[in-house]
Symmetry: C2
Subunit: 400 residues, 2 copies
């Protein structure tokens, strides 16, 4: 007698072989208490305005408790859409009716994919780009193609050629303090990219979770705000990097009939976002000075960027290229020919420091010598000593 | 010169033509202040334990504030998975590792669909069934087939025949206090259905948002808890109907490798559910007596079910069939030959009463004489007078 075969649930092809992921293993390693991790884009919890957030929850439950606990609407609660519209309107005139609330940017990307993508569609992305966006698009059966970038972001000529060759359903860009590179598209490049999209009749998904985290005081207009672009852009913002990731609130700015499709898709996916959290974020945005908070956070992040840049400079090999972001959370190092950041990682972790190997951020043709380093989680002195240890691992691998 | 054509975003076929829905129009009508609406499954906010919920939020932000505002994990926070496992274990031994947290049942259904469905797959559902589940499955390109039901739920012989004929990816059932009919499968029927699923090697998605809302004290074991069924069932629970819909917390109980796929799918869709809400629900379940609360709510709902049943009996036409649910939120009336609940609705709304036409709950072959009436939102005297007005509309349509 043999035991019966255990039942296996049917698994859709989109998730076949994805039961475990190398990234999950990396994050598990990086979470070891003896490791200084630069792997995740994890805000420093010491910077959360906990008292303000707690006061906002308390106010909502005291003054609108029954409503906060009741069903809401798929579009999102009006107060939050008004606050979101007020912020977006700084660069792009926007009404509450043009905002759709999502449970963080990730759900925003997924909703956009649901609304637009068919299996076999092509999506053009920066090379490299945000890996979880690639996943949200890929599970819809889309083919992801990376477009050439330089220090100013996606290269317009390469973008136009790729659009004409591959007819993408949309282009996905993170123009400001990009994840993973930390690069920012200057205004002239934004205009050139907008012209390409207009000329080719292409839709844009513009992801802007970091734009407010500026170290220079300079903020950049969304590509969506350039002439002709608003009607063809889904502009995504998130409160995760500005207020707190744990509340999972973001939004999409859109216009036209697409707004209805986004609401229907959101309803199919999760009905609506937490009404408690939505009303709380609305209250927080109404009574707290988010700009002042973001300025404080940015000042701290800037010091940490400086610490990491300074620590990296002497320990990177001669041919290495490292970005010096003007804002955001991430710095990107390409060690150059002969280095493999993935295979170095075990030694780095043994030395008490972790990063994210860069290969995972490429839709295709990865540069395996790259790594993403988040500079926001740790204090400057912790960064300095951890980067010094990383330098020893790099030196042992490549010589200098 | 002609104005340029406005840009149209590409819309995936799954959402084509869904920009507006007749149901959305119905809910808009039903929300008019002069209308007593039985359309939505809206808990009475007067029954929310607002003070307990507020205390739980406060405790979490006071004692675990930094963690509540930080990123969590896609599987869900451990404390909440432990509390969920404790509840599920009343009928089916379950560990925290076997729980995946979702943003309400709707996201649970969507996650299950993401994990399993390919375009062209068949899903078997009760006829009629919960319409938002149909939508979560349909947008994955699945073909929905309704299986014959009687007063004890899905008919086992019809289920087996449909499985053998159509080879569904899974069967979706709401065995207890079903939406929309209010019907409950007795234990013997559950056993017969389980035998069919075991014999045919079929997976089950078992949705149980209402099971605790019993008017008789009797609760029913999940089909998942019957011999052999745990390994082939995704069991879904929600806090929406028991604690509060606005917090958007539910869970899936599963076992085996599927647990990893569910976590990966959840990460692609929304990364993780609100950590604040998760920790708050965990705290609420730890320190509050949810069973006592549910007993109080059920006693009120029972009175309202009685009021609606009593009011309907004299005003329904001779050939009508109406359910008398032992729990849950909904009652289902089939007016019989010649009635069309959709076309009667405008007159009902004009008379100050709204319901949900039943056609929308059928995956195929709708009985257009049916309507779903939620009895939970209004007090008995409001129910009585509104049903009397509904009776006049029915009488005008069909004579008696």
């Amino acid at each position: 007698m043999t035991a019966p075969e255990p039942f296996r649930f049917p698994i859709a092809a989109r998730y076949a072989g994805m039961e475990s992921s190398p990234l999950k293993d990396i994050f598990a390693l990086a979470a070891r208490p003896d490791v200084v991790s630069f792997a995740g884009g994890i805000p420093d919890p010491a910077l959360f305005e906990l008292a303000d957030v707690q006061a906002a929850y308390d106010w909502v439950l005291t003054h609108h408790g029954a409503r906060a606990l009741q069903y809401g609407v798929s579009e999102g609660e009006l107060e939050l859409r008004e606050q979101a519209a007020r912020r977006v309107s700084r660069h792009l005139p926007t009404t509450a009716e043009q905002i759709r609330i999502t449970s963080g940017s990730q759900e925003g990307l997924f909703v956009a994919a649901q609304a637009m993508l068919e299996p076999g569609d092509t999506v053009l992305v920066e090379s490299p780009t945000y890996l979880a966006a690639v996943q949200a698009f890929s599970v819809h059966g889309a083919r992801m193609l990376g477009v050439e970038t330089d220090d100013e972001g996606v290269v317009p000529e390469a973008l136009e050629q790729a659009i004409r060759e591959h007819h993408p359903k949309f282009v996905y860009l993170i123009p400001t303090f990009q994840n993973p590179t930390g690069r920012t598209m200057p205004l002239a490049r934004r205009r050139a990219v907008a012209e390409v999209l207009l000329r080719t009749g292409t839709a844009l998904v513009e992801d802007d979770p970091y734009g407010a985290l500026s170290f220079t005081g300079t903020t950049y207009p969304a590509i969506a705000s350039l002439p002709g672009m608003a009607e063809r852009t889904l502009l995504m913002n998130s409160m995760s990097k500005l207020m707190a990731p744990g509340v999972r609130i973001g939004w999409i700015r859109a216009q036209g009939p697409m707004l209805d499709t986004l609401a229907v898709a959101k309803a199919a996916i999760s009905m609506q976002s937490s009404v408690v959290d939505q009303l709380t974020v609305a209250r927080y945005l109404e009574v707290c000075d988010l700009d002042a908070h973001v300025a404080r956070v940015s000042a701290v992040y800037r010091e940490r960027r400086d610490a990491m840049s300074a620590a990296l400079a002497p320990v990177l090999p001669a041919g290495a290229h490292v970005t010096r972001p003007e804002g955001g959370m991430f710095l990107w190092a390409a060690l150059g020919e002969g280095f493999d950041a993935q295979s170095m990682l075990a030694e780095a972790v043994a030395a008490g420091v972790a990063y994210l190997p860069g290969w995972s951020f490429f839709a295709d043709s990865p540069d395996r010598s790259t790594m993403r380093l988040s500079f926001v989680t740790h204090a400057p002195e912790v960064i300095q000593s951890a980067i010094a240890r990383l330098g020893e691992v790099v030196a042992a691998h490549g010589g200098r």
